[in-house]
């Protein structure tokens, strides 16, 4: 707290400031340990042998590194009577998450744009009503949703799941884009209107290219939500089309007398790898996107 903000003009100097600097790094480092601790346990456990896990403490570094558990989790762990590991289900998740993320992001952008740059009477009310959808507990909508999917003929299919995620993602994506576009000056859009550009023309040629920060935030958020979803996945898919979270649950809860912690952990990491990757690669843009106004009130 006491560390000095060194904004160009005011440069901290002297031994006191240096001590504070060291203290700052110590505190930051300690928090890094706190956040990394579970990941460390997961990774180190996943490369240990079962015998080593049983004997040693879970804090100890692995004595010998083996990727057997990873291979098993990916290719041969048993989910019920089928022993193909997570591999097939992983692909299911990709097939579901990618279209759902793209669709909900695009529609959210369109919504946010129409609500801010082409304001029509009642736009605020429309937005308020849509936003409420972000806060509805998903257990509540399970049964009516199932009914609706059944009537649409989409029950138990991947398109059905894409529809569900798009619909319930719309509230958040609209929120993100609306808040971003509010911060964008109307001048450019108005100038384009004067030049005779239409609604979609302005959207695709002017607005969309400049909203990269908001797109990044939205895509990260949506991808995380959709990839990690368990409830909709378990309720609206059938056996072989289960997403990876459902398969992971089955692997972790399936045990033959001995609990294979290393396989469980490897499976957990594999299932979490795509979202982890997105955060690591796009994390920098995430904060930048947030400061560009995506989530400010």
């Amino acid at each position: 707290m006491r560390a000095r903000r060194t904004d160009g003009i005011v440069r901290a100097s002297g031994p006191g400031a240096r001590l504070l600097r060291v203290l700052l790094f110590v505190v930051l480092g300690l928090f890094c340990l706190y956040y990394l601790f579970p990941l460390f346990v997961m990774v180190s456990t996943s490369v240990k042998s079962l015998a080593e896990i049983r004997e040693g403490s879970f804090l100890a570094l692995p004595r010998a590194i083996s990727f057997e558990a990873w291979a098993k989790a990916w290719g041969s762990a048993c989910v019920g009577v089928r022993c193909d590991g997570l591999q097939p289900y992983f692909m299911n998740s990709v097939m579901m998450a990618v279209p759902a993320v793209l669709l909900s992001t695009l529609l959210g952008a369109l919504n946010g744009y129409a609500l801010t740059k082409w304001r029509f009477p009642g736009a605020d009310i429309v937005f308020a009503l849509m936003l409420f959808g972000a806060f509805i507990p998903f257990q509540v909508v399970l049964l009516p949703m199932a009914r609706t999917l059944g009537q649409l003929g989409l029950a138990g299919t991947v398109p059905g799941l894409i529809l569900v995620h798009t619909v319930y993602g719309l509230a958040f994506t609209t929120l993100f884009f609306r808040n971003f576009f509010i911060g964008v000056s109307d001048g450019i859009v108005n100038a384009a209107k004067v030049d005779g550009a239409g609604f979609f023309g302005i959207f695709f040629r002017i607005v969309l290219p400049m909203s990269l920060p908001a797109i990044v935030v939205t895509v990260i958020w949506q991808f995380t939500q959709i990839w990690n979803d368990f409830l909709f996945g378990v309720s609206f898919t059938v056996g072989d089309s289960n997403p990876v979270t459902v398969a992971l649950n089955n692997v972790v809860n399936t045990s033959t007398g001995v609990k294979e912690y290393n396989v469980d952990m490897a499976a957990a990491i594999i299932a979490g790898l795509p979202t982890l990757l997105v955060y690591v690669v796009a994390g920098a843009y995430f904060v930048r996107g947030l400061s560009a106004g995506a989530v400010k009130g």
Binding site: R5, G8, M145, A271, V295
Partner: protein, 294 residues
């Protein structure tokens, strides 16, 4: 004539684009809420039935001891979860905002738990907190014989393990929001304050934090909505146990709807949850819209 018509369409286009999406939201959100409210007034058991049955399900709900446990847990959990995540978030954001060279790496470390679902991390947290496998065992193996950390299996304390894991997952996100807020504070104001001789403490408490007010609001809303919806967290970590000591409204509703075949009671509890959500969200939406009008 034709041009006039196409101009009309052009003018209405925003409305034409938004309307179908809005209609879909109305149906999937408000239609389903209406359905739930209706079910809460019926005798629905294993499957929904649609004959009006009065307030019986609500009476049943408020006579069930487990519901009170769930409510109490919700308040204990949300209070602690929101307060600690916010405190930690703002602290880390300020620390990270000190022109640190490896900020990117540290930020990613603080943020990554948000990327993982609790279906993924629940297993490892369960392990770390389990007295026979995790921290307690390690401490005892290191010679601290009397060390006890059995919150996970202690009905009076199990709810706090949920707070620990919840904070771990979400405080990084709060940090990111605050950091974003700090970045958009006008540098000129800070320089002026520094030239006036204001110390860092004064700068933060007097200028920076007050200017973050809208960010605080966003963070509270996002954390509150995570708290009310918290389901995965409980299921993965304690399964509602020991006993039902860590039951929350979301898990309560799920248990009654799908394990107990008591759709009516479940719907009644869902209506209660929705009412709570309304109480938090409506004021937020109000301020949000006022802000937009300005």
């Amino acid at each position: 004539m034709l041009r006039a018509m196409s101009r009309t369409i052009e003018r209405r286009l925003p409305l034409i684009v938004v309307s179908p999406l809005f209609a879909v939201s109305l149906f999937f959100v408000y239609g389903f809420i209406a359905w739930t409210i209706w079910i809460s007034f019926t005798k629905s058991g294993v499957m929904p039935v649609y004959d009006f049955h009065g307030l019986a399900q609500y009476e049943r709900l408020w006579a069930t001891p487990r519901w009170y446990v769930a409510l109490k847990n919700l308040f204990v959990f949300s209070g602690l979860f929101i307060a600690i995540s916010m405190g930690l978030g703002i602290l880390l954001a300020i620390l990270l905002d000190q022109r640190i060279r490896i900020e990117g790496a540290i930020r990613t470390i603080y943020l990554y738990p948000m990327a993982l679902s609790f279906i993924v991390t629940g297993t490892v947290w369960k392990w770390i907190l389990n007295p026979g496998l995790g921290i307690e065992k390690v401490m005892r193996d290191w010679g601290f014989e009397g060390f006890t950390f059995d919150w996970l299996v202690n009905p009076d304390f199990a709810i706090y393990t949920i707070v620990i894991a919840g904070v771990w997952q979400s405080s990084g996100y709060a940090m990111a929001l605050f950091l974003a807020g700090l970045r958009s504070v006008d540098d000129e104001v800070l320089k002026a304050a520094a030239i006036d001789g204001a110390g860092p403490w004064r700068v933060y408490t007097g200028i920076v934090l007050p200017s973050l007010r809208p960010v605080f609001l966003s963070v509270v809303i996002i954390l509150a909505h995570l708290a009310i919806k918290s389901f995965d967290l409980v299921v993965a970590l304690t399964g509602g146990g020991p006993g039902f000591a860590t039951d929350m409204p979301a898990t309560f509703m799920y248990a009654f709807a799908f394990q107990r075949s008591e759709l009516g009671v479940a719907a009644a509890s869902a209506v209660m949850m929705l009412a709570t959500v309304c109480a938090i969200i409506v004021p937020y939406l109000y301020s949000e819209l006022r802000g937009a009008r300005r």
